[in-house]
């Protein structure tokens, strides 16, 4: 592989609530290489979005705080940058495509203005100049009649088109990293696949890296080079998409595979949800966070937190048990 683009070390992002500190991201470390597509999967509430928002330093404070860690992007620790320097990273070197296409666009600004805005902000483009680029970007994301649609408002767009506009918005400044936070859950499966194909090819054109955040292991299998599986604010298994699928080593990943429909799976295939609920992030159990729901659990699991250990190549898991036995 080529150069490292992003290196996250021991990231801790907590939220202060009535119940104490919610440990949304609790010691996450991973790397991202130039041009690579990384998938982050896990159940709702496991800290995927908080990880992404931490990279952009968009954690609402209060209640949230990045307590510790390093986020080294293009050689600089983002957590050490001044607020002004951070403004020049957001939307410029790192752009984010948000999960809710219906609410992530501003209802009172035209789509073209919003798509072109990063160019206004980072390239000093005029409103008109930015609009011209925005039309090109909308064409790239295959919005029909882009010239006319650019002056429409978001409510005049369908859900899929808004999502395309969100993608277009992320491309203008040719960022090094695009983070797509569950870009497709609200859409039907074919649209979902189309958008992900589009996103993948557009990021390839920019030779940018792509981080796809999703519940859906099927998405990950098809689009990601590498996968991080998250549970309760930690990475519990990581490796190539092949490692995760064909050589699964964590009981939680096994559970996810059984419980989530895959894009190319027969719809009638039986889905088995993982028993139980994710833990309360303010009061994590001692030992492994997953052990209360784990069918493999042994005594040790309730006492000691398993570290992330290499099982071969870049494949790592955080589990005391060898699930192959």
């Amino acid at each position: 592989m080529s150069e490292k683009l992003l290196e996250i070390r021991d990231l801790h992002t907590y939220f202060w609530t009535e119940n104490g500190w919610v440990k949304a991201v609790n010691g996450v470390s991973f790397d991202l290489w130039k041009g690579e597509t990384l998938g982050i999967v896990g159940e709702s509430g496991c800290g995927k979005s908080v990880t992404a928002l931490s990279i952009l330093r968009l954690i609402p404070n209060p209640p949230g705080r990045i307590l510790k860690g390093e986020i080294i992007f293009e050689g600089r620790d983002l957590l050490q940058l001044s607020d002004e320097e951070m403004l020049r990273v957001r939307g410029n070197r790192i752009s984010m495509v948000f999960q809710e296409p219906m609410t992530s666009l501003n209802p009172v600004l035209t789509v073209g203005r919003q798509v072109g805005e990063p160019l206004e902000l980072h390239r000093g483009a005029s409103i008109k100049g930015a609009l011209r680029v925005a039309i090109e970007l909308l064409k790239k994301t295959r919005i029909p009649a882009a010239e006319n649609r650019a002056t429409d408002y978001p409510h005049q767009f369908s859900g899929g088109m808004r999502q395309r506009a969100m993608i277009a918005m992320g491309l203008g400044c040719e960022p090094g990293l695009i983070i797509a936070d569950e870009p497709t859950t609200a859409l039907d499966v074919t649209v979902q696949a189309q958008l992900l194909d589009l996103m993948k090819s557009l990021t390839r054109d920019l030779s940018a890296s792509l981080m796809i955040i999703t519940h859906n292991l099927g998405v990950v299998a098809r689009y990601a080079d590498r996968v991080n599986v998250m549970y309760a604010g930690k990475i519990v298994e990581t490796g190539t998409a092949h490692d995760i699928y064909e050589d699964t080593r964590h009981p939680y990943t096994l559970g996810l595979m059984a419980s989530v429909p895959k894009i190319d799976q027969d719809v009638k295939a039986k889905l088995v949800p993982i028993e139980g609920q994710p833990p309360d992030l303010a009061h994590l159990p001692e030992g492994c966070s997953f052990y209360p729901r784990c069918t493999f659990a042994v005594e040790k699991c309730s006492k000691e937190v398993p570290p992330l250990e290499t099982v071969g190549g870049i494949h790592q898991k955080a589990c005391w048990i060898d699930v192959r036995k």
């Binding site: 952009l56 939307g91 990063p118 902000l121």
Partner: protein, 318 residues
């Protein structure tokens, strides 16, 4: 759009008829008939014949509904609001000469109220729970709780007692002395404006807090927009949609406020005309004024509604 406006204007007519009807009859029910007042002032012992003569001359001997129909037909056919019962001047002319004073007072008050309310409301929302937020909120509660006529009266009395300063009683025309004119209106406009700004400020603050939670604000931050742009371009326009409604609702308050404030500061505007007309039971002046004020209030509300189309792209008139 044009048909929408025409429809809306036509819809004003029944409202206006209803409003004038109510006023026309109600004002005649207030004890103290205009003739009694006239006679008592002129110190004429009211024998029945003089009384009937005056009544007849003024057209007040006819039954009330006939008087109303006469008045309405005058308005509709000749655009004639009638004549003052006391002065015999044309009501429309009386109103017209006083429009500039009231318009200036109302516009200045409105501008002051918005210039105070919107920045303070936005600031209070963005720096929620800071000192300035608390100060803004406290002052705005005072603004709601303290009646402006009380404040206005204090302003009239205390500076005069302490420093011998009192607002000018003589109207300074803008064309002759612009500065003096603005100075003259400033104190009453500030009092009325601050009073109105209290509610607007609270609304702006609440709406900003609400809007700032939306996903599209996060999108704006994620683009690298600085705080100023996030707040002004992305949040404020959304927050102002309901504030515009509120300003529309406040128009009658503004009208009522100018009546009282003009009285306190003796500004010869429409409010003072109304005040005097009510005291004198000058029925035709009151009816004419009500029609005029009603029309203005309704038209301003129409303008407010139309401005949604400009501020909120989801609203398109068909």
């Amino acid at each position: 759009m044009r048909t929408y406006i025409i429809k809306r204007v036509l819809a004003l007519i029944p409202t206006l008829i209803f409003a004038t009807l109510i006023v026309f009859f109600l004002i005649r029910m207030i004890p103290g008939h205009v003739i009694d007042l006239m006679l008592s002032q002129q110190d004429i012992s009211a024998d029945k014949v003089t009384r009937q003569k005056i009544e007849h001359e003024l057209g007040l001997d006819a039954p009330v509904h006939i008087q109303y129909l006469r008045w309405v037909s005058g308005v509709v056919l000749r655009g004639d609001l009638g004549r003052s019962l006391w002065r015999q001047t044309e009501v429309w002319k009386d109103i017209k000469t006083r429009i500039p004073v009231t318009a200036e007072l109302a516009l200045m008050s409105l501008m002051i109220s918005l210039l105070v309310a919107i920045p303070v409301g936005v600031y209070a929302a963005v720096r929620q729970d800071t000192m300035l937020d608390y100060i803004g909120r406290t002052v705005s509660i005072l603004g709601i709780a303290v009646p402006y006529f009380w404040l206005g009266t204090l302003v009239m009395i205390y500076p005069a007692l302490w420093w011998g300063w009192s607002p000018s009683v003589e109207l300074i025309p803008f064309r002759e002395n612009p500065l003096g004119n603005i100075k003259m209106f400033l104190v009453p406009a500030v009092i009325l404006g601050l009073f109105m700004s209290a509610v607007t400020m609270r609304m702006t603050r609440a709406m900003m807090l609400e809007v700032l939670r939306h996903d599209y604000i996060r999108t704006a931050w994620a683009k690298g927009a600085p705080e100023k742009i996030v707040i002004i371009r992305h949040a404020l326009k959304n927050a102002l949609i309901p504030v515009v409604t509120l300003v529309g609702i406040q128009v009658p308050t503004l009208v009522g406020g100018t009546i009282v404030i003009e009285q306190i500061f003796s500004l010869p505007g429409i409010g003072l005309l109304m005040y005097d007309a009510v005291l004198q039971r000058d029925y035709s002046v009151i009816s004419g004024l009500m029609l005029f004020i009603g029309l203005i209030v309704l038209l301003i509300n129409l303008l407010v509604d139309l401005s949604y189309g400009w501020i909120d792209p989801k609203v398109r008139y068909k």
